[in-house]
Amino acid sequence: MPQLQFREAIREAMQEEMRRDDRVFLMGEEVAEYDGAYKVSQGMLAEFGPKRIIDTPISELGFSGIGVGAAMNGLIPIVEFMTFNFSIVGVDQILNNAAKIRYMSGGQVNMPIIFRGPNAAAGQLGATHSVAYESFFSYFPGLKVIYASEPYDAKGLLKSAIRDGNPIIFMESEQMYGLKGEVPEEEYLIPIGKGKIKREGDDVTIVAHGKMLYVARQAAEQLAKDGIECEIIDPRTIKPFDIDLVIESVKKTNRVVLVDESHPFGGVASEVGFLIQRDAFDYLDAPVQRVTLPDVPAPFAKNLYDIWFPDTKQVIAAVKAVTYTN
């Protein structure tokens, strides 16, 4: 199977869908002539031309709204944010218009639109450029939120998202764009809302999405040396959330650690933790634990950043807490 970088997998998904459907177009800052700030859309201007690969000014509110209007009027926009930190400038269009217009019109209006781009921290970029927004967008009815962690998932999910016909937040990461993974040559789709077991194990269930998958994997490898076998579930989609897959695993392991790159208050882990205690209470041998960012904005200094960002050691400590080992 060919090995593709994460960015290439996303590019292929967009290219294939654009070849298939003329209504699909891409717009965002530096996506065309610069070939993408992170080279995700490299070569797409050459293939599709300036009508369908559109450089925008730094006008997130304006072009998000143009995306919404275009979606209402028969097109399928892929709106790229240079990062989701900048989507906040345009967020009124996403939360009030993209997410609600179909409902308010009593179902008269369709809203097939993708908002995509890198999410969460990517090194020492400071407080405004380092926020994980998946739980924030998941709060709102009317949005589906996908945060893929591997090239295979990214491609299959993005293709499904483009065909889904609804407003979708699709999240990536600057720090994952270069990661390689196997992606089949033949076409495939991954259903939105289905998680995947990324590592099997009997002792503890770890739920981790986005970059946290990699932190969880490293922790699991080290823990295996101590005889603790972790099962890692990557939900891949934050909303709808595949809670059934998690509950099934918890019934086997009876212990669970949630690893979440969000801040703790109202983060993904708080919702998932609630569902687990309600639906699998009798199966739990220890309280559900979570490892999250602290309730602190991102610092710049390297040493502070390294403390701030969740790492393997913290995940191991949490696993030891739920297994009552030291």
Partner: protein, 364 residues
């Protein structure tokens, strides 16, 4: 249909001349009220910014620090003129290309370099990095990373000045790219409606990242002011004396009459947008053309022509500044990282509220 040649949205495929400079002022330094010593001091200030950033770039490439690094090189006449003309307690705010304005507003090379290195002795205690230089004591209000977001904030400083009736004015700097944000228009409208003593200063350096100004904004930038009936000017930002000349008149008007003013400063950045920019979107000829009129080199020539200073004195000044910057690099390299506990400082004034900390992070 996969490719349609005839329909396009963003203009594409031109060869650009991104920035057209207006005429420079004909006034010499005496006419502008500058003493010989003022001119020398301005030269020092401009050269310090240049050397500071050249060294910063080297250190970045050596891997001494991470994050973004956006260089101001080429634009130093703007920061220096601003600091010269404005009162020391007038309020200055800018975007992430902030080292130049920070240095002229009292951030020492040591504190600036230490901030780049993410050290505790940095001008923002290592919390901000390159994009967030601050010196609030001397009314330098940062260093901001969300494009356009600080423009209303600058107007807000002017609001406070008018409210407090303290005679101060504010100046907000932002790039040509930021002109495309809605925040600009809301700020302009409010400032005119409320007659805020605020200068909105666009540093039009021809590009918003890799996008030439003609490809990202409709019509001339200064015309934004027309709809609000706001006074405006277009200034040659590659020329120190033109900057001083215009800002002297403008700041007086803004201060005395409590009105906003919109200025489009035409300038050029010599370096990439940030350190990872290959720069394929512009020609070497264009870059060279602007380097030919480098504000620092021209000021040097001017000082020699007018016999303000001798060559060996210039050399000595430059040597001193080089040494000062090297010392700053050594300091930044050797001084400590912030105390780990400071991660939890500066969130609130008073008690730091941190939700569910120990149990959720498993940090000891």
């Amino acid at each position: 249909m996969t490719k349609t040649a005839d329909t396009a949205f963003t203009p594409t495929g031109f060869v650009y001349k991104s920035t057209v400079l207006p005429e420079a002022t004909k006034k010499d330094h005496k006419k502008l009220g500058l003493s010989n010593d003022d001119v020398i001091a301005l030269f020092k200030e401009m050269y310090l910014q240049r050397r500071f950033e050249e060294r910063a770039a080297q250190m970045y490439q050596k891997g001494k620090f991470g994050g973004f690094l956006h260089l101001y090189i080429g634009q130093e006449a703007i920061s220096s003129a601003t600091n010269y003309v404005l009162q020391p307690d007038d309020d200055i705010i800018t975007a992430y290309r902030d080292h130049g304005l920070g240095l002229v507003r009292g951030i020492s090379p040591k504190a600036g370099m230490a901030e780049l290195f993410g050290k505790g002795a940095g001008c923002s205690n290592g919390k901000g990095g390159s994009m967030h230089f601050f010196n609030a004591e001397q009314h330098f209000w940062g260093g901001h990373g969300i494009v356009g977001a600080h423009i209303p904030v600058g107007a807000g400083m002017a609001f406070a000045n008018k409210y407090l009736d303290n005679g101060r004015i504010s100046i907000s700097f932002f790039g040509d790219g930021a002109v495309d944000q809605g925040a600009l228009h809301e700020a302009l409208n409010l400032a005119q409606l409320w007659k805020l003593p605020a200068i909105f200063a666009v540093e039009n350096n021809g590009y918003s990242m890799g996008t030439a100004v003609q490809r990202h904004t409709a019509t001339d930038i200064y015309k934004r002011a027309l709809a609000y009936d706001m006074k405006h000017a277009v200034i040659n930002g590659m020329d120190l004396f033109s900057m001083i000349d215009s800002l002297q008149q403008i700041s007086k008007d803004v201060r005395e009459n409590s009105i906003p003013y919109f200025v489009e400063i035409r300038t050029y950045r010599y370096k990439g947008h940030s350190m990872s920019d290959p720069g394929n979107y512009r020609t070497k000829e264009e870059l060279d053309e602007f380097k030919q009129i480098d504000p620092i080199e021209r000021l040097k020539t001017y000082m020699l022509d007018k016999k303000i200073i001798k060559q060996d004195e210039i050399d000595a000044i430059m040597d001193d500044i080089n040494a000062e910057v090297l010392e700053a690099v050594e300091f930044a390299d050797s001084t400590d990282f912030p105390d780990p506990d400071t991660l939890y400082d500066h969130i609130f004034t008073g008690e730091q509220l941190i939700h569910d900390h120990k149990k959720t992070t498993f940090l000891d």
